[in-house]
């Protein structure tokens, strides 16, 4: 479990994050945009579960900072959320691993939802906006997407022999 990742394995993980970020900012029609899942969060949760000793709170925070720059949101907003998410994922990783897939999806959805709520909270604190019900749409999308994303990333992990 504690073997260090080689360069290629690091590249694979980095590439998965980059791809997630691209998917997170790909322009979408307004109708679909609401249902855009939080790709980066899901990928982060997966890698936290898969290699908890490599990907964790620090990685999440850096990732979040980068997302802040990407979204143009307040610096630290996503960083905080992603750090919290990584922390939660690490905290529950052993339990998450043994859950059946649908239950796992729900649990991950809840974790991501908590981090999202943190973002919403921050936004409403800083900008004075009221949280809207429609902000929960991506949370549902996360739950739906998770099983598929999990399968894909597990395949990627196995191919790259990341244990």
């Amino acid at each position: 479990m504690d073997n260090a990742l080689n360069l290629r394995q690091r590249a694979v993980i980095l590439a998965s994050f980059l791809l997630a970020m691209i998917l997170a900012i790909v322009p979408l029609p307004a109708a679909v945009r609401l249902l855009r899942p939080d790709w980066v969060a899901l990928v982060l949760v997966y890698w936290c579960m898969a290699v908890p000793e490599r990907i964790g709170v620090g990685s999440g925070w850096i990732l979040g900072l980068f997302l802040d720059a990407l979204y143009g949101s307040l610096l630290g907003e996503q960083a905080l959320a992603k750090a919290v998410l990584a922390f939660l994922a690490l905290r529950f990783t052993l339990r998450l691993r043994v859950f059946p897939r649908w239950q796992q999806a729900l649990a991950v959805g809840v974790l991501v939802a908590i981090s999202d709520l943190l973002v919403i909270l921050t936004k409403s604190l800083v900008h004075g906006t009221t949280p809207l019900w429609r902000d929960t749409a991506p949370m549902l999308a996360n739950v739906v997407l998770w099983p598929f994303l999990f399968a894909v990333l597990r395949e990627v992990r196995r191919r790259a022999k990341i244990s």
């Binding site: 970020m21 720059a69 610096l75 750090a83």
Partner: protein, 286 residues
């Protein structure tokens, strides 16, 4: 290693990291919300770093946009192409008309040259109408008695004899072509001086030369020029070219076919000939 406030310093726990980083996040947010210069610099660095990512994300859409625009351009080019093709067609028609005009100019120039027949004065007349059935080959000219046109007047073009005026109206006159079945033109063979009469057949562009005995010296390619006998046509002007000479032993005469020298099918203008000296006399009659 050692501990600090009960926390391991070597491998800080996740909670420690979270607390530290959450503090850092909140600090960043506060700084950023305050429009601090340092935070802005950090943001700019981050934005520059993420710029390639944004480009990459926008790439499919940019490509789609380009493709759509190409398709639109294609459409416009097609339309323009069609428009230009139509224009070319119109211009072609114009060119054809210009060519026709040029041909007419050449024709008129040739007519003017042909008008220098000795002993005759030539006048240009426009062809108003053409009647050509199996039995009549006629032209209607825009010159009549008012223009001193007289019945029996010779009509020629640049290449040969066209026919003669057979009836004269006030402002128009009717010309019987040499291909008219009623027409007969006294000719001589330019090569041998053999006298003959060229008759119309009623078929366009075909003449016959009957009443030549089998011993007559005439060959395909011979040019027949008017002899001036009969006084209607000017002498020495081309009438026809022999195309076919058939000799049938059972018949007394040769069967000779000829084509008119004048371009009977191409007329827009012809020349009317007035014999010099006679002009006044006929004018007085008219």
């Amino acid at each position: 290693m050692g501990t600090f406030l009960g926390l391991s310093l070597k491998q800080p726990s996740n909670l420690t990291k979270l607390i530290v980083l959450a503090g850092a996040s909140i600090a960043l947010m506060v700084i950023d919300a305050g429009h601090d210069y340092g935070a802005r610099a950090v943001r700019e660095v981050g934005q520059q770093a993420s710029h390639p990512l944004q480009e990459l994300a926008a790439l499919p859409f940019a490509t789609a946009h380009v493709v759509l625009k190409d398709a639109q351009d294609n459409q416009e080019l097609r339309q323009e192409n069609r428009r230009l093709a139509q224009r070319i067609e119109r211009l072609r028609v114009k060119v054809a008309r210009l060519n026709a005009l040029q041909a007419e100019v050449a024709h008129l120039t040739a007519l003017l040259k042909g008008s220098s027949l000795p002993g005759y004065r030539a006048g240009l007349a426009r062809v108003l109408d053409v009647s050509s059935g199996p039995f009549t080959h006629r032209l209607i000219l825009n010159e009549g008695a008012n223009d001193h046109v007289f019945s029996g007047q010779a009509v020629i073009d640049a290449h040969g004899i066209v026919g003669q005026v057979i009836s004269v109206g006030r402002d128009t006159s009717q010309v019987m072509l040499i291909t008219d079945p009623d027409s007969g033109v006294p000719v001589v063979c330019a090569r041998t001086g053999l006298r003959a009469i060229v008759f119309g057949t009623g078929a366009p562009n075909r003449l016959k030369v009957p009443y030549l005995t089998v011993t007559a010296d005439i060959r395909p390619g011979d040019t027949l020029v008017s002899s001036g006998l009969g006084g209607v046509y000017p002498p020495g002007y081309p009438v026809a070219r022999v195309t076919e000479v058939k000799s049938n032993p059972n018949l007394a005469f040769l069967k000779i076919r000829a084509v008119p020298a004048a371009h009977l099918n191409y007329h827009s203008h012809v020349l009317l000939l007035w014999p010099k000296g006679q002009h006044k006399a006929y004018a007085a009659h008219g």
